[in-house]
Amino acid sequence: MADASAAVAHDDHHYTATGLNSWKVGFWTFIGSECLFFGTLISTYMVYKGESLVGPFSGDVFDIPLTTISTFVLLMSSLAMVLALDGVQRGNKKLALTWLAAVIVLGATFLGFQVYEFNHFYHEGLSLSTNLLGSSFYVLTGFHGAHVTIGVIWLTTLFIMSAMNKLPPEKALNVEIAGLYWHFVDIVWIVIFVLVYLIQ
């Protein structure tokens, strides 16, 4: 009896005017806000591009082949994310765990590349306070990296939930929203890769 009434209450709380889940609408709204956040950071980078008075300049430190690999890694993580969601939606725990693990590993690998890159640039003489490039590059890519880090922590949580059998298909929305976030962070990186690294 208790379960039945709880189920009714559950449905009542999920009534929406559009039929869309509120978490999804809210998260899309938040992503809209994030677009302006990264848009402002990227605009600042573009305004200061080539304006640094002293080196090292971007051409001195950027390693395009290396960043291409890390970009590829992050792009592949989005594919793994799609497959992980599919696994959770179908209630296939093995698929879900495999692909969630893949996203986490690929995301962490991307972060590893970024740590290596920051470290490398720093030893080439580019710090936060060296010039405009240092300030605008580290803050932009640093905030992107922070977003990836949050994503990795989030997905790790989902992985543990799945391993504990607490991620049934009814809760696939949790993974779907984490996926929205992950794909968004991925798309932001594509813009950064093109505007910051490729077009110098």
Binding site: Y15, T29, T40
Partner: protein, 615 residues
């Protein structure tokens, strides 16, 4: 169409089953309680910001006054502006969003009740953090616009700007989350039949404002982050010696700052677009046009920011563009003014205090709008920039427009919130002292500005011939202070002993007037079905709705339970930013870990667990 007569009302009684006590307020997720807390907090900050203004006015009462030092004067006008915008005008509007919007659309709460509580607590902690600066003698002192590179460590080495940049960052988090919450609420939680074009104008303007919040606040957030990196980690964003461009700050600030003006004023427009029809007993004239004008203001508001920067030397092409857009945005605003007047035309007008304040807005905002069109012209603006003429202009917009709109809403919705009327007699005193005090304070500033009194300057020479204008402004300022105290007295007195009000004391048309005053914690026993724009003005529709909304349900609808985690996360967010102040790079990470702990506890908390345990 008929209008409900004033229903016979009895003294409001507290509803059963609602928890009381301090703890219930700390852990509440009820949008109505959060709305009340937002309102009371913003009133406290209104008193603080008003006190700062009065000290400024005393200092300017006579030439070469030495009542306060120039340094303290800098802190006073900076905190006056920062407080009134971020701690009074915005949160007071959010108070109304919170209390009224779910009732107007027929919802039991906002889409994310705990997130709503989090927004409030971050606002409270951020406001306290900003004001703690007074007690260490280092209140922000670089004006509310904080232009680079005055805010650099080179020119502002003290803690003053630290408090400002970190305090505003904290408040920004609150506003963005509030925006997300209300966009989702209005999209998703409308009752059956409540189509977008049936929503009351206040809900519509909340909708537009929420979009502006989620889009404008991230821009200032990034600008503040860049300034914080410059100050704490020696980055170069606004460091001229390294090629940094201080004008970039101006652009980012005003790309946020101008939409912010509409974030402030659209809710007030929304309030009076509900009040004027209710007290004219006529539907809003040209409803779709008023809606579209509001949406258009939201869009064009993004394309006018550089009119704040005509003196920055952007060149004739940029200046011309922003002159044109600024003049264009006056059109939808003017359209609204005419719609309000046409609504009153031929209506059976009742001059209640709420209506008086609404009419006051229409008149006084128009004065501010007209002076705004004057300095929309770049050559004119070059003369008026940073003079008291501009101070007069934006106070006509912000006080004459926004504050009067908020007061109108206070008198209009107070019976819904408390079940009692505010005293109309005290209300008349409040209205007339506000009107006289306001005009006496700010109208002379047009003249003192034209005579050459510069903004943000702590004293002036008697040769300038502006002493009389300043004395009038100071006297007016104190009358405004008295009017605020009258309002406060009215609220405190009427909350306890005001005349009882029924569910629809004004005979108003929208859905919030279909439920008891004060509402049950679940608002609606069952969701009403809406068939028109003025559901309470159509007898058959009202009867059908009230049969649902005034009924006592056999079992109360199940509402999310109280939560402790919003206040934990809010304290974590505040601590994280405040710890940046230490300048130690890992110190904020401690705050982050604490915040993360709160977020996890929140995420795994079942909002309905209190129901399951009682089954």
């Amino acid at each position: 169409m008929s209008v409900a007569t004033e229903s016979t009302a009895t003294a409001p009684a507290a509803h059963h089953g609602e928890p009381t006590g301090l703890w219930s307020w700390i852990t509440t997720v009820d949008h109505k309680r959060i709305g009340i807390m937002y309102f009371m907090t913003s009133i406290v900050f209104l008193l603080i910001g008003g006190l700062e203004a009065l000290l400024i006015r005393i200092q300017l009462f006579k030439p070469e006054n030495d009542f306060i030092s120039a340094e303290l004067y800098n802190q006073l006008f900076t905190m006056h502006g920062t407080t009134m915008i971020f701690l009074v005008a915005m949160p007071m509007a959010v108070a109304y969003f919170n209390y009224i919007v779910p009732l107007q659309i027929g919802a039991r709460d906002v889409a994310f009740p705990r997130l709503n509580a989090l927004s409030y607590w971050i606002y409270l902690f951020g406001g306290i953090y900003l004001n703690v600066s007074w007690f260490v003698g280092a209140a922000p002192n670089t004006s509310w616009v904080g232009y680079a590179n005055l805010t650099s460590t080179q020119f502002s080495p003290g803690l003053n700007v630290d408090f400002w940049v970190l305090g505003l960052s904290i408040l920004g988090v609150s506003s963005i989350m509030g925006g997300v919450n209300f966009v989702t609420t209005i999209i998703n939680l409308r009752a059956p039949g409540m189509k977008l074009m049936r929503m009351p104008l206040f809900t519509w303007m909340t909708f537009v404002t929420s979009f502006l919040l989620i889009t404008a606040l991230p821009v200032i957030a990034v600008a503040l982050i860049m300034l914080a990196f410059d100050r704490f980690f020696a980055a170069n964003f606004f460091n001229v010696a390294a090629g940094g461009d201080p004008v970039l700050w101006q652009h980012l600030f005003w790309i946020f700052g101008h939409p912010e003006v509409y974030i402030l004023v659209l809710p007030a427009f929304g309030v009076i677009s509900d009040v004027i029809p209710a007290f004219s007993r006529k539907p809003l004239f040209g409803y779709p046009v008023v809606v579209y004008a509001g949406v258009l203001i939201g869009f064009i508001g993004w394309g006018v920011w550089s009119h704040h920067m005509f003196t920055s030397g952007l060149g004739p092409i940029a200046d011309s563009f922003f002159v044109a857009t600024t003049m264009i945005i006056a059109i939808p605003t003017g359209v609204k003014i005419f719609n309000w007047m046409a609504t009153m035309w031929g209506g059976a007008i009742r001059f209640t205090t709420a209506m008086n304040f609404a009419i006051g807005l229409v008149a006084l905002f128009t004065v501010g709008g007209l002076s705004g069109v004057m300095h929309a012209s770049a050559p004119v603006d070059l003369q008026q920039h940073d003079s008291y003429f501009v101070v007069a202009h934006f106070h006509y917009v912000i006080v004459g427009g926004i504050l009067l709109g908020m007061f109108s809403g206070l008198y209009y919705w107070f019976p819904k919130v408390t079940g009692r009327f505010l005293s109309e007699k005290l209300g008349a005193w409040h209205f007339w002292t506000t009107l006289i005090g306001f005009n006496l304070t700010f109208f002379p500033m047009h003249f003192s500005g034209m005579f050459g009194q510069p903004r943000r300057t702590w004293t002036y020479q008697s040769e300038l011939g502006i002493e009389l204008f300043n004395q009038l402004s100071t006297i007016g300022g104190f009358i405004l202070g008295v009017s605020t105290l009258i309002m406060l007295w009215n609220v405190l007195k009427s909350a306890r002993s005001g005349a009882p009000a029924g569910s629809n004391p004004w005979g108003a048309p929208s859905l919030e007037w279909s439920i008891p005053s004060p509402p049950h914690h679940y608002n609606f026993p069952a969701l009403p079905e809406v068939r028109s724009r003025e559901p309470m003005w159509h007898d058959d529709e009202r009867a059908a709705i009230e049969a649902v909304t005034l009924a006592e349900p056999e079992t109360e609808p199940e509402m999310p339970g109280p939560s402790f985690w919003p206040i934990v996360v809010a304290s974590g967010v505040t601590a994280t930013w405040a710890l940046v102040m230490t300048g130690v790079w890992w110190a904020p990470l401690l705050g982050l870990v604490y915040t993360g702990f709160g977020v996890y506890m929140w995420a795994f908390e079942d909002p309905f667990k209190h129901l399951k345990s009682s089954h």
